[in-house]
Point group: C2
Chain length 514, copies 2
């Protein structure tokens, strides 16, 4: 077993946070913009987000939900109206107070005092209230229900401490909003959205998740129920990667979404909202990245296959590029994961080896290098990004299929990489969940043992509420822990509540979290 | 020739502005949001915009331009820096001054005085300056050029008088930004973007356009050259539907986009920007709408074919829906304009005739109704939205092909509708351009003749600049006219300048404009 010279400077095991930043920078995914809390999403990072959008949007449309677009600005009054909602969001928002700049007489510009808005406008932190206004106009009768809308948009929640993709003041997301005639239908929709997120996370992002209900204190402000998918990152922390909220009639009451039911009476609609954001890109990095950079699951890779001819700035280059172009064309005719294969032939100036490491850091699933000797032998040198190293030699694990084999096998190879990334993440997660801890002492001991990335613990509890729950939250907070969710389809409780000693009613996951 | 009872209340010929608003409302495309200057884009309108995005984005990607995302907020200092840029945009912009709200003690919320930003942030009116900042970081050497980026985003320019899709404070657009080593390359890119817009407008929106250079006084602030595509609306006014700007080194200077050239010297990059917005949706309405509502070109229709079974709430409905579902499945297997046909079987409760008129107003290209008798005869009743009426009978012009013919012929039918809409718009435009006007008196007489929708005039001029141009602009302004552009590929000038009497150097289009 030879020593491997990894493509990054920082190892996951030594400093996960620094490693995360290095991946983002080395893969050219994003960078600080110079505007507080806002990042620039570079083409490779944005290309991954576009793939996420495309695949999730296909699922949204297939579920009969229509996209629409609502204003960026929300009148202050909308926030005042929904008191409970305000509690959760009022603290940190971007407030527009003026609509004009004028010269300050010293070469600069200032907001024009004569152009002060009568009522400040808030840059949307989420759109329940403004979409609720529209729903109240569009819903008159039970025939108008269910009303199912989705919006892809930017939202702003002022953040003091930011972290690229995971917590930024401006972020990109989709927010689904539906209105229903009955609580039962609304609850069904809540669960359908959750299942859509689970399938998207596992099938497309190759990220295993636990779907379940958030405990009462972690509910979205104003929600009756909040459900989430939770993924384990490689440092053992949990990432909430998508949420679905059953809002009861709370928002319908505030926005006056009423309808005439089939008996002629008036009733309030039951509403649902659900969101997934660019945070998922951070989750992808922390699920699949390794000490050589990012590894993008083929379903999400802007380019699934990159072909690098070893150009030497000589007349022979022409034949080599032609050989590679034929390969590119044949690969582009193949399909993987139900879509045509996305393949790039990179003929820009530069050494093939340097470009190889660029694409390794970016995480392109398959990298194919072709030199003059490969061409003479009718073969190519092929790297799988998810199995990069020959551990014995400490060198990149090139395979050398014939050009025809490389083209014909690409679909199966990409699908295998997609499955392998999921399987590796699921195995890692499952190995990092403890289910044998039954007392607070053991819990405390486990998380104080000095293990760097301890993972999650599944415990059983009596689902305390109110003051009893607050006490639990405090106890956990002292250990920097949080309740993630109550997993669906879990086995029944069998023990005493780890917090109160009463008979437990269900299982919950406990973890440190992003 | 029988009288036709149109689906809208307002005729184009009687009140074009009111007709425009009625189409938007009747087709459920958009509505006022209650937030000043911001509209809600409803699913049918947004579905058309999504189709525009998809088709233009495919062209952008095919041109080797990568999507990225830049901050919504731009620091005030960026605007101060680019003096000429400020002139054009500083007037009306949304200014963020606070990042927190607090309770005012009277049940309301106010901006927290303790959370005032040290430097106000501007909601982007366009992103040249912030993307210029990123380019200055990413461009070091000639090897980094050309750098070609595009962003799909919302932008805000505070507007006092708004009109849905045509002029709103917040609008959606794409903005392309590229940097090049030489003026020649940058000019080529400017023209490539213009040609991309021309092809998109004509091939996808079925909207004939004139591509040409804007006169000096209509340039984008800071640009060396501005080019546009101009379309004629059905009221004879011009709509600028896309622009491409060669910015010289002006923005590179302000943002410090410098590179080491191949000889080791330092040089400023030449930059280009180009944009197309939701304004195009307004252009689509005013190009293809008629007295029955919208007509959507098949390339852009969210649903190209709508199947309406004439349900009667009886047991026979089941067989009818099955008959329609077979038709739907067969149509969905067909292709039109290079994509699978988008077909909807609408089985919601409601009368088929009422639904027919809803889809007529929405402008679905093909509407197929199927009643029990149709089913018994193995036929369907098919309407082409672009040829809705039997003029002789004053009734909808249903064709009754067999179900198999309807399915097999759908691709050709949709392609024919796409061409027919373009041909009709081109014929109407060409019939509304006068080329025989050579004096100011004749120009004035023409536009004062009382003709309601007089159209455009092509005249010849000496391309005046500075004060001479200002005088021309004033003369035209008195007639509510503007210079649209200097058309590309036009015949050489042959006359005297209509304004100065000097020998003319080129042709220009003059029109009233949106």
């Amino acid at each position: 077993m030879a020593a491997i010279r990894h493509a990054l400077n920082t190892r996951r095991e030594s400093d996960f946070a620094a490693w995360y930043q290095e991946v983002i920078s080395a893969a050219e995914m994003a960078e600080e913009s110079g505007v507080r809390g806002c990042m620039v999403i570079r083409p490779w990072g944005y290309g991954i987000w576009e793939r996420m959008q495309r695949l999730l949007d296909d699922r949204i449309k297939a579920a009969g939900i229509a996209n629409a677009y609502f204003p960026l600005f929300i009148p202050l009054a909308n926030f005042t109206r929904e008191a409970e909602h305000v509690e959760g969001f009022a603290k940190e928002m971007a407030v527009v107070t003026h609509h004009r700049l004028i010269a300050d007489g010293a070469g600069g510009l200032v907001p024009d005092p004569d152009a002060k808005l009568e009522e400040p406008l808030i840059v949307r932190p989420t759109s329940e209230t403004i979409i609720g206004d529209a729903m109240s106009r569009w819903v008159q009768s039970w025939r108008d229900l269910p009303l199912k809308l989705n919006q892809w948009a930017n939202v702003v929640r002022w953040e003091m401490r930011t972290r690229m993709f995971l917590r930024t003041s401006e972020f990109l997301w989709q927010e689904g909003h539906t209105a229903h005639a009955t609580a039962e239908e609304a609850r069904e929709e809540t669960m359908r959205a959750l299942e859509m997120y689970r399938a998207f996370a596992e099938d497309d992002v190759a990220m295993p998740v636990i779907a379940g209900e958030k405990p009462e204190h972690e509910r979205f402000p104003g929600a009756v129920e909040t459900w989430s998918i939770e993924a384990m990152m490689q440092d053992g922390k949990a990432l909430q990667a998508g949420t679905s909220h059953y809002l009861g009639t709370n928002f319908a009451q505030a926005a006056d979404i009423r309808f005439q039911d089939s008996e002629g009476g008036q009733a309030l609609a039951h509403t649902v909202s659900w969101g997934m954001s660019t945070r998922m890109v951070g989750g992808l990095i922390m699920t699949h990245g390794d000490d050589d950079g990012l590894r993008v699951p083929p379903a999400l890779a802007p380019q699934q296959v990159v072909i690098l001819p070893m150009l030497r700035d000589k007349p022979e280059d022409e034949a080599l590029v032609a050989y590679c172009e034929e390969l590119r064309a044949k690969i582009a005719e193949q399909s993987a994961l139900g879509e045509p294969v996305r393949v790039l032939l990179d003929t820009r100036p530069g050494k093939a080896a340097a470009k190889r490491w660029d694409y390794v850091r970016k995480g392109a699933p398959v990298i194919i290098e072709v030199g003059g000797r490969d061409m003479d032998n009718g073969v190519v040198s092929q790297l799988r990004r998810d199995a990069l190293w020959n551990e014995a030699s400490g060198k990149p694990a090139f395979a050398t299929p014939s050009r025809e084999e490389a083209a014909a096998g690409i679909g199966a190879l990409l699908e295998d990489i997609q499955s392998a990334l999921f399987a590796a993440a699921a195995a890692r997660r499952d190995a990092s969940i403890r289910r044998d801890i039954a007392t607070m002492q053991d819990l405390e001991a486990f998380y104080s043992s000095g293990e760097k990335y301890p993972g999650w613990v599944e415990v059983q509890w009596a689902r305390p509420t109110g003051a009893a729950l607050e006490k639990v939250v405090e106890q956990l907070k002292a250990l920097k822990l949080t309740v993630r969710n109550v997993p669906m389809d879990a086995a029944p409780a069998t023990r005493a509540c780890i917090f109160t000693g009463e008979p437990a009613v269900e299982r919950i996951f406990i973890a440190k979290a992003y």
